[in-house]
């Protein structure tokens, strides 16, 4: 017993480490995923869903409109809920997202807003998360570059 008493500072130190590790592990206000999961999920637009695909979905889904104020979307999806991006991480909204067992589909008029929100939620570990793809593929290059065949590297031509 006396020997254990001699070790009290050692045990105290170890307990503090364990507590710190547990606090870090279960802190909901930290990202836990690694960026590779977002890159993998977004490859080849596999995280996108078109309006036609959405309408033909047989499973339940939750549509979240990220528009706010003047930027509020002109698109209207039936049964969608409005969560302005500024309020995306409010406790109430995070609870809805975490507890949802259905597919979650994000959309807004500005594709960059949707993309950024998608990465944040993906890194927070929200599952079954999709982006409503814009009607036109915004990542397709719509022009054709015509090289100038007369270009030479000689100084006079530059």
């Amino acid at each position: 017993m006396k020997e254990l008493k001699n070790l009290q500072y050692v045990f105290l130190f170890l307990i503090i480490i364990v507590v710190l590790v547990l606090v870090r592990s279960f802190n909901p206000n930290l990202f836990r995923q690694v960026p590779g999961t977002a890159v993998e999920s977004a490859q080849n637009n596999s995280n996108s869903i078109t309006l036609a695909q959405l309408e033909s979905l047989k499973t339940q889904y939750l549509v979240i409109n990220l528009g706010s104020g003047g930027k509020f979307d002109s698109i209207r999806i039936k049964n969608s809920i409005n969560v302005p991006i500024e309020n995306l991480l409010d406790k109430k909204n995070l609870t809805i997202l975490n507890e949802s067992k259905d597919e979650i589909i994000l959309y807004s008029a500005d594709v960059s807003t949707t993309a950024k929100a998608w990465v944040i939620l993906n890194q927070l570990g929200i599952k079954k998360l999709f982006i409503l793809a814009p009607e036109e593929n915004s990542e397709a290059f719509i022009y054709i570059f015509q090289p100038d065949t007369t270009v030479r590297l000689e100084n006079d031509s530059i």
Binding site: E3, N6, L7, Y9, V10, F13, L14, I17, V18, V21, N29, L30, F31, R32, Q33, V34, P35, G36, A38, V39, E40, A42, Q43, N44, I85, E86, L88, L89, D110, V111, S112, T113, A115, K116, A117, W118, V119, I120, Q123, L124, S138, E139, A140, F141, I142, Y143, F145, P147, D148, T149, V151, L153, E154, N155, I158
Partner: protein, 203 residues
Amino acid sequence: MNTRIKFSILLIGVGIIMAFLPFNTARSFQLKPDELLSKTVSDDIYFSVDQVARFINNEDTTFQLIDVRSAEQFKVCNIPGSINIPFNDFSNPKWEIYLNQKGLKNIYYGNGDQKASYAWTISTGLNYGNNFVMKGGLNEWYKTVMLSQFEGENITPRENALFENRFNARKTFTQINSLPDSLKTHYFNAKHLQTSKLDGGCE
């Protein structure tokens, strides 16, 4: 009980705790979710294509253009001076040396805004400083810089400066993208040489 035994027990205890820690070599986001969200909603993260054209014309070395399109698309054409980090390979640790450079502004662009915004959010979340997006991507660049023309009779000094900026950037874009790959790297050296001659400087 002597100090050596106490120290040994401490080390064994720490070792046991570490053995049960989830070990992951990849880093997760360093910023807290609220911090990242507040940066996300800011409009200060965008540069227009005209601003980027000015950086190119001025040969501004404080920014680094990062093309997140595929290597095949990058080969066809890209904004002069940009480096290619395809989004599909963005989480590869080998890119950190390019993405996390102090004092350098990273400006991401794709064909549109989606992939550049993914890249912006990941690099900002990892706490790499000074990340921006070229709004509208290469499609907007082409529409505004490559194809825009002045229509009208009178041109104001402001419009003149704007179109001159676009014209110079367009010329550089066309010239460098028309060169064979092997010669592209020599282009800027030749341009520097010509500038120094015009300025009356030495080589």
